[in-house]
Symmetry: C2
Subunit: 178 residues, 2 copies
C-alpha cells in the first residue's frame, strides 16, 4: 500500500523555546484531503544511571503539563547541533552531579509519533562518580536513589509513569549484564 | 523540596482537533518567573494483540510528523467521556478487525510529560477473533503479523521505534503468562 501523505499547504501556528506547532493540509492516499496537527521538537536524551551496588539514580521534578511531581530518569533537550551522547553526558552531570565512565546506548524512539516528531535517545550510564549538580535556572530537581528492582516494581504500581523511564528501567532490569 | 509552579497567566495559542497548545507564565520555587509551553491532548489507548500461536498483530501507518511509515501496535485517541477499555475495544476492532475475549491492562503512562499531558493506557488483548476492519476516513493502515520474539528483536534493530509499542512489547516478552 502507498501511504504517503503529500503536503498541500503548511501553516506555522507557534514558534516557542521548546516546541513549534504547525498544521499541514495533506493529500491522502485516496485523493481526499485532511489536516495534520504537528508539534516539532529538537529531540532529547534520557539516562538511566546504575551504580556498582545496583542502585539507580532518579530525579523528582514538577511537570507543569500534569500539575504534579514525577519521578523520572535524568533527561534533557538536545541543543542545536549537539550529538546525543554529548548531550547525555552534559545533562547527567547538570541534573545529578554524576559522571559515568561507561555509556551504553539502549535505543532511540519517538515519544508520540501521531502528532509530534520528538525523538528520544536512551542510555545506560555505569561506573559512576559523584560530583556537584548544576541545573538550569528554571529547573528544580531532587535526586532519589532506589534499587533497580524497586524501580521496576514502581512501573506497575504507578509510582513511575513516565514513558522514557519505563522503557529504560524495563531494559536494565531484564537485559543489563550484571 | 517544594516544587510547585504557580500559574501567573495562561495564553491559549491553538485549539485543534487532536491537540490544544498554551503558554503558561509560572512562578518558580525560588520566586522568579518562567514560561511553560504546554500541549494538551485528550489521552489515548494502545493495544498489543497476541493470538494463541504467539503472533502479535501490528499496524503500519504513515506518520506525518516524521514523514515516514511506522510499525506500531494498534492505538487511538479517547473520545470525550469514553472509558479507556471501551476505547481500546473499539480501536482494536476498527483498525484490525480483531475482537478479543481477554483484556489485561498493562500500565498507564505519560508519553512526553515535559511539554505534553497525553496519557496512554496500554492493554494486552488475547483470545482473538478475526473480523473486518473499519478505519476512520483519514486513516490508512496495513496489518502486519509477526512473532512476539521478532517484535522484541525489532525494538533493538530500529524496526520498531514507537514508544507505546516498545513498552507493550517489552512487557509481553518478559512478563506475559504463556
Amino acid at each position: 500500500m502507498n501511504f504517503y501523505e503529500k503536503t498541500i499547504s503548511s501553516q506555522q501556528i507557534f514558534t516557542g523555546r521548546i516546541i513549534n506547532v504547525k498544521v499541514d493540509t495533506v493529500k491522502l492516499p485516496d485523493g481526499s484531503t485532511s489536516t495534520r496537527e504537528i508539534v516539532n521538537h529538537a529531540g532529547a536524551v534520557a539516562i538511566l544511571p546504575v551504580d556498582e551496588d545496583g542502585w539507580v539514580w532518579l530525579v523528582q521534578q514538577y511537570r507543569k503539563p500534569l500539575e504534579r511531581v514525577l519521578l523520572e530518569i535524568p533527561a534533557g533537550t538536545l541543543e542545536p547541533g549537539e550529538k546525543p551522547l554529548d548531550c547525555a553526558v552534559r545533562e547527567l552531570h547538570e541534573e545529578t552531579g554524576l559522571s559515568a565512565e561507561s555509556w551504553e546506548p539502549i535505543l532511540s524512539y519517538y515519544s508520540a509519533p501521531g502528532f509530534c516528531d520528538e525523538q528520544l535517545h536512551l542510555y545506560l550510564a555505569r561506573d559512576l562518580k559523584v560530583g556537584e549538580s548544576h541545573t538550569d535556572r528554571d529547573e528544580f530537581v531532587e535526586l532519589v536513589k532506589m534499587s533497580l528492582e524497586d524501580a521496576y516494581k514502581a512501573i506497575f504500581t504507578g509510582e513511575i509513569v513516565d514513558g522514557k523511564s519505563i522503557i529504560a528501567i524495563q531494559y536494565a532490569y531484564h537485559q543489563m549484564e550484571r
